[in-house]
Symmetry: D2
């Protein structure tokens, strides 16, 4: 942490800042120039909020040079984290595809889609039982009945299931019933929920918030790990920018950033990332090329009549072609599929 | 709702789209040009997700021309909503100031600050008992003990209290103990929480999400109203942009937009909006000039030693000056203080 | 400037970095912690591009702590710059209003509008003779004939004129004919043009680029001042964000930032900032409340038939009311009108 | 174009809108609902600025359903545009790599780099003779001398050269000396410059502006084509977002969007897109996977001592590996290299 004092900072202000930091067990080293007083702070600064130091009189600017995250930090652990989901390995050279409809709509729908995506090579079945919808008047998901349908599909196909959790009150049920608990983009900083899944040992798929920096995203993962749950999978799903031709702007460089900063696996969701069905295959191939550990793709047997997100869902046939394209890329980048 | 078909849309596709809409009780009117088939959809389209229609074969683009929100819509209700908080009126020509520290830190701190801000003219006491913090290692608030301290301050000064709710499990306690339940920016689309406060009749202060459009913000308010709670107060607190000189970019034009689109009151939080103590007074005056219904301002008796957000907290003296400046603006714009 | 080396930076790499900096006449001070090597760089670092230092082997991150701008820097000059435009003073406690149509369309139009805005209190006449339009098929302005019309209006009303320059080849003509040369948002980093106006002594109105940080904006002003022209007036006109209810997001906190960082005057353009006629008056009042040195407002005698930007133009009557509202705010903030 | 009138629009206002449109040779079709009057406008609406129609009394919102660009539109021309640069084909199934240093620094440097990149497979040599720099105090390029050095390298290696043009006064010289004229991101809406290169027949590489929508980017290309120059190559180089871990956010979905909307070739610049040397290879491979027509990559023989952009320049060895990786991807996607 580097602290730059104001041009006209008083001697007492400078001493006060130093005293406060030393009281917290940190060492302060002078790096002042001709005009400004500047200090380097040595020690574990992860527990200090730089905004609190900026509140001190005479301080102009505080810059963090140590990452604020610990357990998710690559420096904290040698080697990649590999999350084991009922035998399906995520991370560490494996490439994993999660596929299925946006929403669980019926037993028939899930049975049909799960068999199709499984045959095409998907490893994990996705499907929303509880749906976050912008409008209170839109279909909110089948709820508990949806969970039961997903479990039956798991029985039928052997695929583990991933589905979104929105309410702390359902954590126990999800822990018992599902294989990966998804935290959606809108809840990425719902700390109550992060703490709740942190208390389980269940794999958690943490989507990046719509306007979250990479650092904030890793800090959200830190909440889960700090609670005692090391099984975190990150998911890039596009960020909100001024461009609205696409639903979001898929930030593939974030995959590279996460891989450098953290040991956690990171997958990509080109369905939400683009919002456009015809872009999904090519963006999925690009995600594989850049080094992602897997994909999450929306597939619907009847996108036209999907109760949600039909515009960004592939048909089973399109999904089949997408997997084929991705596999060809994986032979180039050398990931196990 | 306007539907534009693709250039080469087939006759069956066009008929299929029309059929689907008519099945949902809507009327379809042709507005086709020479090249493209275009339809206007007549009836209540608020329950239709435009993305679902875009999923239909042959459809190129769907544009909503009716706002998707109903109960928050100004067209839904004549006159401004005035929320009554223990006799303090918010909206409808009144100007209301909520002030207090970011976090409740001690009985002594709250007692001192609440008396100071009350004397300077604040109507409502703010203070966080449960704090959303980016880092799991930062101070997370005093919790229930903090709520008790706020209640004592209410007893002492007569000021109603507003504090942030982060967990559905605490809704009952908040309903009983506090006067306004605050939903923070990070939870603006935490639908589980929105539904929970929608089931109470307690006034709700709904902060705008960091990257929420005005429409999404009003849709979040719609969730609360749709649950049966009409007492919603909106709060603009800055949006995330590329500019990072300020913590956020305070969007004062959003106040005007909300006032035109909705009957709900809207206040402004220049503390989070700028993140800089020295900007607060002037931005507060600008918010008053633009027509906001009030302000939420962080005040701390010892910003240097605040456990959170000291950098954006005013001292009681600075707050006093800020209120004075705001009052002078209110005489110009004609709001009751 | 603070340089943080990588965790595993080699001794030679560290020495190499130090050597390079010392060769450029800078002093290097060690501020290393237990894990990372960190250096403070002392001396005039404004000529160093931090990205170049980041290119050195072993370097992880470079943080600038000194502003990269000099002549525009408040530290460079005591007191506010006051730009004198044919006797109209801009900056330093004065409040100046520039008003007129987006485009010059005819002699009659300009004559009518200029007389109206002058009567209502505007100090300077604006009007585009050369227009930057997104489409090559839209009206591109009247060109030289437009300039002549503006000069006649100046003759008639005595108001100085401001108009946008887009081509270096016209600098001489603008220098001779107009009173303030406007550099538009799209050309804020057109360095060829900035250098050209920097070689004149004519007052320059420099609009903030659509996605320019405050620092980049001040660096653009630095180009003009570095060329020898001290007469720069800054103009905040809204930035591009994800919110598209308004044409841009007017960033009023930028006025405060500029006033702290620089001695140059800064005015606000609520017409482009919002793109909505009905928002202009209130945002103009907010701009006055926050401490801007003036306003630039689009006024049209017949907005319906304006050849450009009618949607954000006030009628002369609306402009009159706007000036009245702004004047009342100015009595509160104590600016001369 | 769809026009929605206000809820309370008067009959005269509606008639007036219709009259204005009909006067411009357009047909108006009624698509009104129960509450709102809505019209579809039929005919060539590309010359109409929707903001001008929104200025009309009684109008609430205007939505364009026809793209505003014509000559760049895929609907305008069957098949892909293939730009021929001294025998090197860009677009239409070819994959083209442009490589070289950010700035031309010396004869020796260019000679060394050009031979290296040519041997590794680059088709075109890039290098900046005139440099747009944020600071007026940074190195501004070698100018004319730099152009001569590039020409010598062309002589030596046979590679065509691409370099950035910033000043209209240099158009003739560039037309004579270089093979592709680059328009940089900062000048994407410098219409004076666009018109000038539109009057030549020289291939133009048009970089996307930092905050330009895809539509604005295509409209800038339309300026060049409208001037009579069909040889436009687009270049995605990252957009400005809130995320600042990377220099920009590389928007690979824009490649897909451009390919659908336009017949023009589009290449990707991962150097500026990420600003980080270690990200370039993987993002280049992703760009190839997504279907780009080529790449522009910064290569420097001595990145440490580069006068600009060393942090994002590859060494010749790293470039060699990057080309190898890209080639493997191209065998998958089936592009000619």
């Amino acid at each position: 942490m580097i602290i730059k004092m104001k041009l006209n900072a008083k001697k007492e202000e400078i001493e006060h800042v130093i005293e406060i930091l030393e009281r917290r067990g940190l060492k302060v080293k002078d790096a002042s120039g001709d005009e400004y007083s500047v200090f380097g702070v040595i020690g574990d600064t992860t527990k200090i909020d730089i905004r609190d130091i900026e509140a001190l009189n005479g301080v102009e600017k505080v810059t963090r040079i140590q990452e604020p995250f610990k357990q998710v930090n690559r420096a904290f652990k040698s080697g990649d984290t590999v999350v084991d989901v009922r035998g399906v390995k995520i991370g560490g050279g494996n490439f994993t595809i999660m596929a299925g409809p946006c929403s669980v709509e019926s037993r028939h729908q899930i049975s049909e889609i799960s068999r199709a995506v499984s045959k095409s090579g998907a490893h994990i079945l996705r499907g929303g039982a509880y749906k976050p919808r912008t409008s209170p008047y839109s279909f909110q998901g089948m709820g508990g009945e949806g969970l039961e349908i997903l479990k039956e599909a798991r029985e039928e196909t052997g695929m583990p299931i991933v589905t979104e959790l929105m309410a702390v009150s359902l954590v126990d049920r999800f822990e018992k019933d599902v294989d990966i608990i998804q935290i959606g983009a809108r809840n990425m900083q719902n700390y109550d929920l992060l703490k709740a899944v942190g208390r389980t040992k269940k794999p958690v798929l943490l989507k990046r918030g719509m306007s979250s920096t990479i650092e904030e995203w890793l800090m959200a993962a830190e909440y889960i790990m700090a609670g005692g749950n090391p099984n975190v999978i990150l998911c890039e799903r596009g960020i909100r920018t001024f461009e609205n031709y696409t639903r979001n702007t898929l930030d593939l460089s974030a995959v590279l950033a996460v891989k450098r900063l953290s040991h956690l696996p990171v997958i990509v969701d080109p369905s939400h990332g683009t919002g456009k069905r015809w872009m999904i295959r090519d963006m999925a191939m690009a995600a594989a090329a850049v080094g992602a550990d897997g994909l999450m793709i929306e597939v619907h047997n009847d996108p036209e009549n999907a109760l949600s997100d039909g515009a960004q869902s592939l048909t089973p046939e399109e999904f089949h072609e997408t997997v084929a394209g991705v596999k060809r890329i994986l032979t180039v980048v050398g990931k196990k599929f």
